[in-house]
Amino acid sequence: MAISATISLTSAEGDLTSSALSLTAAASLTKAGLSTALASTTGLAKTNFTNNPIQSKAIYRSDDAAANGANKVYLKNMSTTPAEYFTVFIDQEEMGRLYAGDWAFFPWTATSGTKETFRILIANTWAAGDTWEFDGVQIVAADSTVANIATQIDAEEFPNWTTVRSTAYVTFTAREARDAGTVVTATADIAVDTAGDGDSVVDNAAMGTATESDIIVVPSVVTTMDLEHMLFYE
């Protein structure tokens, strides 16, 4: 496996200086501190920005790559209108402006936050037909066994959470790290409808923290602009 990145900077005689300038550098993109190639990529992508008012987009989230990896990011402003530019941010820090046709290639330290987690216990008396609902997902109990109901919950695909089950406990982990302020998922956030006294108590929860290195891009105009981008990562 190999990835190569080559840059050529060229200035003809009389352009920047009276003499011609030329520089070429080639890099093999390898893992941090190693000579083995980076093994993962998002592939080449194109993202359209057409929003009024102007809205930023997170092109790559810190969760996408290793914090101390030798990750590399490629960005290109596909606009042909000279005055149109994308402002590139790392988290809240501005890097610079990519004007029409400009491109950038840079290493990326993807410092992630932590993902919120919480655990529920399916307990007390449940009956077949009782319902449990969270994150837009509803399950209907197939029987009255609490461990089986926990298994049903764990079998679902939640939009914003992943799950792991142990007996009648189900642990939820957010798909993305974020800082939700002081709010953590609680028992009241889960809708339970049982014929008996069945419940779904959150007995353990931990807040998430914000990522610190998301790559955020802001267009300069509300009319359509396209960004070409690619990430090689660990």
């Binding site: 990145a5 093999s28 290109k76 000279p82 610079g96 004007y99």
Partner: protein
């Protein structure tokens, strides 16, 4: 005509070919006819243990189309320099790696900083710009 920056990326990570190429003529902010016409360049041996300002932000660089090229010429792949803008880490440039970024010096603290790890790192750098605030002679 002005300075051009071209790059190619080639990879055999996928079952099909994955490549990208880009070329830009470095123009002043918002123009298509007036190229970046000034530059600074250097080659530094950067010792470990201290964060250095590789490039100081200047007021003349606010909201401009400045471009910075940095190459870590170190041949030891465990060596790297950490690139920071105004206390925010951009990434680690390992031995043999290069980078090319836009740089908006949007305030006086928006310096481009560098810290070496592993050993003394050898760095080539070029800053293409359209003006900078030169320091006044002090003594």
């Amino acid at each position: 005509m002005a300075t051009t920056a071209a790059m190619t990326l080639n990879s055999d990570l996928m079952t099909g070919a994955l490549s990208a190429s880009a070329s830009t003529t470095m123009m002043k902010a918002g123009t298509s006819a007036d190229g970046l016409d000034q530059m600074r360049m250097g080659y530094n041996k950067v010792p470990t243990g201290t964060s250095f300002d590789l490039l100081d932000a200047t007021a003349a660089g606010i909201d401009k189309a400045t471009k910075v090229y940095i190459c870590n010429e170190s041949t030891d792949e465990t060596y790297y320099v950490t690139i920071v803008i105004d206390a925010k880490t951009i990434g680690r440039l390992y031995g043999g790696d290069w980078m090319f970024i836009p740089w908006n010096q949007d305030d006086a603290t928006h310096d481009l900083e560098i810290t070496a790890t592993g050993g003394t790192n050898n760095i080539t750098w070029i800053c293409f710009h359209e003006g900078e605030t030169l320091g006044t002679q002090a003594d």
